[in-house]
Amino acid sequence: MSLPAWLTAERYQARDSFLHRRDARIKLVVTVSAAFAVTLTPEGNWLAFGAFALVVGAFMVLSRLPVGFYLRRAGLALPFVAAAVPLIFTRPGETLFTLPLFGWTASTAGLVAVASIVLKAMLAVLMATTLVGTTPPQALLRALERLRVPRLLSSTIMLMYRYLFVIAEEGQRMLRARESRSASRVNLHAGRSVGWRAGVLGRMVGTLFLRSYERSERVYVAMAARGYDGTIRTVRAEHSPDTFDWLMLLGSLSAFAGIVVYVLV
């Protein structure tokens, strides 16, 4: 009764590699900088994207995470990236081809825009996947706190991570109970209509939301009863960056800055 194994990155976080051993704050800063640098790069700068791809590729190799893990994670981002596809038809420019049925014209400029957005998104997602695959969530959250990310935000993320699995498993058990009562009789059409089943699912989501909401109040009361005041305290030994950490930070930031300065100047 557990979530599909591919949803959690825990077994990858438990591995060992150069990147696994790096300070979580350094990794976080490098990842966020990479995302900013890639985003800042104007559309169609293929050379710059190539350079970013090399850096991201180097991190992927250093992480020693399996390719399958990267592919699955990148796949999760695809639906969001797909939202950019209409740009190919809406961006004015030289006509590339015309969609036969609808008469929409695709432009070269549109194609460049879509390809750039997809590349940017993939580079950023692969970087984030490297971070998540090499850093346990507790270390990541502690890094957020030590980087002075507002407490409200870091404790919200922490509680979300804690209860995500509880709620997902509850949802899974509800689906199992529904399956159990989704029976058929000979000569009768089972399952009514797609609309009816969608309605049932929608109400299940609503029920799950209500229960999660009520659970959150119980959790808060239980936390308050133990003196919770908004601060997560810890007595665990704090990690401090070593020479390799500083070198990685310096190296990556210079590379990103170099690429961005090169394309913008």
């Binding site: 557990s2 194994a5 509850e170 058990r173 509800m174 199992r176 109970a177 529904r178 399956e179 159990s180 009562r181 989704s182 029976a183 058929s184 009789r185 000979v186 000569n187 009768l188 059409h189 089972a190 399952g191 009514r192 009816w196 049932v200 109400r203 299940m204 609503g206 029920t207 209500l210 229960r211 009520e214």
Partner: protein, 256 residues
Amino acid sequence: MSSSELATFQPSVPTATGSARVSAIEIAGLHYNYPDGTAALDGIELRVEAGERVALMGLNGAGKSTLLMHLNGILRGTGQIRILGHELTDATVGEIRAQVGFVFQNPDDQLFSPSVWDDVAYGPLYMGLDRDEIERRVDRALAAVGMRDVADKLPHHLSLGQRKRVSLATVLSMEPSILVLDEPTAGLDPAARRQLIELLDSLPQTLLFATHDMRFARDSATRALIMQAGRIVADGPVAELLADGPTLERYGLELP
């Protein structure tokens, strides 16, 4: 095995003598491994006749729930399962679910609809029954568990005892021949427990329930099974098994 043969079965009310001797449940060589590879069911052999009332006992992790979830095809291991003489396959699983009513341990899993009425109606609605038949069945199921007056309430605002009874109604409305219950008395106060036991005793269905409640097993079952490490290690009349102190002790159970 054609699936249309299932239609010839009478829903519920097995006859005591039974003209055609077909077992309610037959399991042969059932194995099931958890995704991580550990064996949860390790060669289950079991035959339950129509009308029997069977208590399934054993420590947590012995495989009781896993076994129960095979009876309506929620889990699919290797081996053979026959319900009312019909082999459980992809083709028959839908009709077998109409015959095997499964009541989960936690009513919060069982009850996923915004109102009690909707939840009890889900099974009949899904089966494609007509409106009048659905209303008749929901009303009868709620009446059977004494929960008619909460039909319009939100399930999660009921007491645990009430939710357990509504859970039972959600499968009774499907008019199954076999009832499978996972820990029906867990967490109930003495009054709610007594009410539930009386309710179960009044039902005509073949009954198979997993429980840690030895008094409940003694009072409501005719036959008891003990599971350990994915196998059935003891099987006999409930009175005999529960009087056998050494056997109970060997499997970590205690006398009622």
